[in-house]
């Protein structure tokens, strides 16, 4: 992971601190709707492209209502895209069965399923990113605990997130000092790597010791406590019901094709 990717995690944290109608919704409602969204999107058959497009509405609507700028989300999608590209790009080579033709341009099943993979990737990744960007890690942890996730795992998530920035700063300072002092920066030999990462590990463990002592000094008795979140209100209910109904409708009928025939005036 390149250090530059770290900068973006701070952006997500800042976005989560904004105040908007979406940010004020109960986290459980957002988490449930996002899970339903991902499952619905992935339940389509492999050659489906057009019926998937209406689902773009969900991340876009959340971004608009939550005042999330599109650049950080798009940048993250692009950074993670190579994996889906590598796996999906073989589909057009392996599956050459023609499914449609526009004049001389013939579309094969492989290109269709490739487009479907990329679209699904963009949909699922953007939904997850938008969920975090308009919620934040701490409320998400609280919601997970209230949805039945073991408390110790939620504590682990929150601890990890809290010290991510601290330890990552320490790591990048170490990398910088090695780069400044070495003639050939960029590649470490295994023994230097071992002592560098080993030092980082020991420093992290020392820090954990100090944190523990600080917790004990403040009354930690071995049980983790997570302060409660908000309660589900009317707006959360409307948010959930509305989106779940939309997902069900978009799954049952191809809304894009329906709109296309409406615009073009041709019967389907």
């Amino acid at each position: 992971m390149k250090p530059s990717r770290w900068l973006t995690i701070g952006t997500m944290d800042e976005l989560a601190r904004l105040d908007s109608p979406v940010h004020r919704l109960d986290t459980r409602a957002k988490a449930i709707v996002t899970a339903a969204f991902v499952i619905t999107v992935m339940s389509f058959p492999r050659y489906e492209v057009s019926a998937l497009t209406p689902f773009l509405l969900y991340p876009l609507a959340l971004m608009a209502a939550g005042r999330i700028p599109p650049q950080p989300i798009c940048r993250k999608i692009l950074l993670a895209l190579p994996f889906a590209l590598v796996i999906g790009v073989l589909n057009p080579i392996l599956d050459r069965h023609p499914v449609a033709a526009f004049g001389s341009l013939v579309i094969t099943g492989g290109w269709l399923s490739f487009a479907s993979i990329i679209l699904r990737f963009i949909l699922t990744v953007s939904a997850a990113l938008v969920l975090v960007a308009c919620t934040g890690m701490f409320p998400l942890g609280v919601a997970l605990e209230r949805l039945g996730v073991p408390r110790i795992f939620v504590m682990q998530l929150l601890f990890l997130y809290r010290y991510l920035f601290v330890i990552a700063d320490e790591g990048s300072r170490m990398i910088r000092s090695v780069e400044i002092r070495s003639a050939k920066p960029g590649s470490l030999s295994l023994s230097i790597y071992g002592s560098l990462v080993g030092h980082l590990l020991l420093r992290s463990m020392d820090r954990a010791e100090r944190i523990y002592r600080a917790m004990v000094a403040r009354g930690f008795d071995g049980t983790e406590r997570i302060p409660g979140g908000s309660t589900l209100g009317w707006s959360d209910g409307i948010f959930m019901a509305g989106w779940l109904m939309f997902f069900a409708a978009a799954r049952a009928w191809n809304l894009a094709a329906a709109m296309g025939s409406l615009v073009a005036g041709t019967p389907r």
Binding site: K2, P3, T34, V38, I39, M42, S43, R46, I77, L79, A80, F83, A84, I87, G88, L94, R96, H97, G110, S113, I117, I118, R120, F121, T124, L140, P150, R151, I152, F153, M155, Q156, L157, F159, Y163, L164, I167, E170, G171, S172, S187, S189, Y193, G194, S195, L196, V197, G198, L200, L201, L202, S204, M205, A208, E209, I211, Y212, M215, V216, G222
Partner: protein, 350 residues
């Protein structure tokens, strides 16, 4: 390697979610029973450490490429398997949420591949067996490389199986496995070297940090894991072979459905024929059934097989294929057990 949401069907993702959810609940209970109060901040900070350590690369000797720490094995060595699974699971969750590595639906798959296999399979069955209780640098190194590679190979196998079972990618099972497994062998060796280097440093600088793993190896039950693996291998072999008999891969089945032919038109290349020939000659159980009496020659035999009108649609629950699946599972198990015995012998004599 992280599995992406775009390649997982809800059924596969849901099953993996259920399994990893149970795993997390089990590990959370085990960690809660642990008397160490400082485990909670230690686990949290070590999770952050894994992220930071993944930023640092080292050059793999002899090649132009570089590797970094995956983390599963190192965490297990430091914290024991139960706590390590929780830490790795949290690392994967944050990666899915913030970096779009993997995804929400594929999170269960990734937890099994990158947390369960290193901690609950590779560590107890390989690392503890090879490394033993004394710490020699060479032995720790061999143990780290072997178990990191084994853990990653198991994970890669699972990625291949989950992708094929989901049926969204067109990649055939065999090709995908042939691409994934060698790559992950190399990545696994690199991760093993990185783990060994860090463990060697800690053993020299602060040996007590390594001895502090809350679940010591002596109390860690190896037999239930072996039994569980045995049952899983036999079940997987038996059920998968029903499918693999009539549709050698998900892809061939899908293509046959779409194009009406069992082979892709591009598959007539020389490499394909050569590979098919090698496969047919080396396979003791060709196409996972019993070898037919008449000699089959490469593609012609396959074609005749594919166009056989009496072929049953899947899943053909035939005794022959189920038996070969179970036999394959058993052979793998026997080999693994023998390997373990030989290694533990070696340890007690030296």
């Amino acid at each position: 390697m992280h599995m992406a949401d775009a390649l997982v069907s809800p059924a596969v993702g849901g099953v993996a979610w259920a399994v990893s959810g149970g795993l997390i609940a089990y590990c959370a209970r085990k960690v809660k029973q642990c008397p160490r109060d400082d485990l909670v901040p230690m686990m949290g900070v070590l999770g952050s450490f894994i992220f930071a350590a993944q930023m640092i690369n080292f050059s793999i000797p002899g090649t132009g490429s570089s590797g970094h720490l995956g983390g599963g094995l190192l965490l297990t060595i430091l914290l024991g398997p139960h706590a390590a699974v929780l830490v790795m699971a949290s690392v994967l969750t944050v990666q899915a949420l913030f970096f779009a590595d993997g995804g929400l639906l594929a999170l269960g798959c990734n937890m099994i591949n990158l947390a369960f296999f290193p901690s609950f399979v590779a560590y107890p069955l390989l690392y503890r067996v090879i490394a033993g209780n004394r710490s020699g640098a060479l032995r720790t190194g061999v143990a780290s490389v072997a178990s990191a590679a084994a853990g990653l190979l198991l994970g890669a196998t699972c990625v291949v199986l989950a992708t094929t079972a989901s049926g969204i990618s067109d990649l055939p099972l065999k090709t995908f496995a042939l691409v994934m497994l060698p790559i992950h062998l190399v990545i696994g060796i690199a991760e093993g070297l990185a783990t060994a280097a860090v463990v060697a440093f800690v053993a020299k600088a602060r040996p007590e940090a390594l001895a502090a793993a809350p679940t010591s190896a002596a109390s860690f039950p190896r037999r239930p894991i072996l039994a569980g693996l045995a049952i899983a291998a036999i079940l997987a072999g038996a059920t998968l072979s029903w499918f693999s008999s009539t549709r050698p891969d998900g892809l061939e089945w899908a293509i046959a459905k779409v194009t009406g032919r069992a082979q892709v038109s591009g598959a007539g290349s020389k490499i394909h024929d050569n590979l098919a020939g090698i496969q047919d000659t080396t396979a003791i159980l060709p196409d996972y059934g019993f070898r037919p009496n008449e000699a089959r020659s490469g593609k012609a035999g396959r074609k005749a097989d594919d166009e056989d009108p009496n072929r049953q649609p899947w899943p053909a629950v035939s005794a022959g294929t189920s038996i070969s699946g179970m036999v394959g599972g058993l052979i793998t198990l026997v080999l693994a057990t023998l390997g373990g015995i030989v290694l533990s012998r070696h340890r007690t004599t030296t």
